[in-house]
């Protein structure tokens, strides 16, 4: 393969006018998926754990950690808006050997993401106690497999796969945002708010408990993976492409095999020519800025709220959200405000935003593999 000069060589860019930006409200969406997907890790797993264990000692790292993702995500989106190609196609153009190495790394890092479906299953198992008589682990796996089956069936039956994912993620993001806003409005959380806001800028000292060296990797992961992080951030390019943003207008979309009509997907993208389309460049830049801001800002807002709730409700009692009790421990967030109804609502929300991670990941990783397969082995 490496001796063949044709491997990993994409056709040259075509030239085409940069299309006008449609109504900005209809163009937004990839940022919402970013926000909903990010809720599956940092918000429920890492940051609430750090806050529940160490109070406000490390909260001052949250804002810089979230803002750090902005330039990277923006540049990923920029490549796709200006070429219509996915970011992996861009890396292949830059250096095919490097892109091949990155593809291998990404494949290895996504060997075991079924854990997210299982994490969503913990919520549904706690909610239903079904199937009756099964162990909590058995019930969790039952719901994990069921959610995977439902998502797979939804993809196969969808007309345009991206639209299904965007619609589902809009619902998850809005439900989570409203639910957390409501839960954060309880008296205990409001009382703790001034100290919490101070902790965002000034670290609490001394720490309420001795530092556990085993938590060093958790803290570093919480900072690096605030928002999406890792290879997940690259998915943003694929959502921008199937949204048809900028030059992606000229690329076909992936459609469902049963009800969708196949669209032609060219092997390479197009860059804007020296024509009247350039007048739209500024609007597309602003669109990208706002879309990324929705993703990162929305994620920051909801992470702040889960941290506030963890500080108010879990930290004083020494409750740590982890393992199979991840969602159950945090269901106290909603239970305090609304009793048993709140607990049920939280478990539904948690199930949605943990298992949506599986949906978005299986879709995006399949897209990346397809992209790389076509670029590295053109005869396929």
């Amino acid at each position: 393969m490496f001796a063949n000069p044709a491997w990993g060589t994409l056709p040259p860019f075509k030239k085409a006018p940069l299309p006008p930006l449609p109504n900005i409200w209809t163009a937004l969406g990839p940022g919402v998926i970013f926000m909903a997907l990010a809720q599956g890790s940092g918000e429920l797993i890492w940051w609430p754990y750090i806050i529940a264990k160490y109070g406000l000692s490390f909260l001052f790292l949250l804002l810089p950690a979230c803002f750090l993702q902005f330039p990277v995500t923006y540049e990923i989106g920029r490549y796709t808006v200006l070429t219509g190609e996915s970011i992996f196609q861009g890396f292949i153009r830059l250096n095919r050997g490097f892109a091949f190495f990155l593809w291998i790394l990404m494949t290895l890092s996504f060997l075991w993401f079924g854990a997210f479906a299982a994490a969503g299953g913990t919520s549904l198992a706690a909610l239903t106690n079904f199937p009756a008589g099964w162990t909590p682990r058995g019930q969790t796996l039952f719901w994990g497999y069921l959610s995977m089956f439902v998502f797979l069936a939804a993809i196969l039956l969808s007309k345009v796969i991206y639209r299904l994912i965007e619609t589902f993620m809009w619902a998850v993001a809005l439900l989570t945002l409203v639910g957390l806003l409501w839960a954060s409005a309880n008296a205990e959380a409001l009382h703790a708010l001034p100290a919490f806001v101070k902790g965002l800028f000034i670290p609490e000292s001394p720490m309420p408990r001795p530092w556990d060296p085993d938590d060093a990797t958790k803290l570093l992961t919480a900072i690096t993976f605030a928002g999406l992080g890792g290879f997940w951030t690259l998915f943003y390019s694929y959502w921008i492409r199937d949204k048809g943003a900028g030059m992606a207008h000229y690329m076909g979309r992936l459609t469902g095999p049963i009800t969708g009509k196949a669209e032609a997907i060219p092997a390479s993208g197009a860059v804007p020519g020296e024509d009247e389309g350039l007048a739209h460049a500024g609007r597309w830049r602003r669109y990208l800025f706002w879309d990324v801001s929705i993703g990162i800002g929305g994620n920051l807002l909801t992470t702040l709220m889960t941290c506030l709730l963890a500080y108010t409700l879990l930290f004083p009692k020494g409750l740590l959200p982890q393992g199979y009790e991840l969602a159950v421990v945090q269901s106290r967030f909603f239970e305090v405000s609304w009793g048993w109804l709140g607990k049920i609502l939280f478990l539904i929300v948690a199930a949605a935003f943990l298992s949506d991670t599986w949906l978005a990941t299986v879709d995006s990783v399949s897209r990346i593999h397809t992209d790389c397969l076509y670029a590295f082995f053109p005869r396929t």
Binding site: F13, L68, Q69, F70, P71, V72, Y74, E75, R78, L82, T83, I87, G90, F91, R93, L94, F98, L102, L105, M106, L108, S109, L111, W112, G114, A115, A117, L141, Y145, M148, L152, I155, A216, T217, L220, T224, F225, G229, G230, F231, T233, L234, G252, L254, P257, A262, I265, V271, G273, L278, A281, W358, V362, V365, S366, R367, H369, T370, Y374, T380
Partner: protein, 97 residues
Amino acid sequence: MSVRSWYLIFLFLLTAITAATMGFAEPGPLILLSAVIGFVGTVLYSIALIFLNHVYLPRHLPAAARPGRTNLVFLCIACAAYALLAVAYLLTVAKIV
């Protein structure tokens, strides 16, 4: 085969793999490998973005569509921060610090 056919093949393959592995705890070495790859991968692709969007791509773009210097500065800051975090993570898992 079409792009859609390959996408579906990978979709089923990944579903089968995750379904098969979901019932088992993630092996310790794989947890560590995934985490290290996540940190190192973030640094690698962030640096690649500098060269892709600020060196390679501008050659193909009209002047009005090229990225500005401010974006480059922020991207470089993010790269440096991710590199530091990756080094800190590697030193931590290697029990050097």
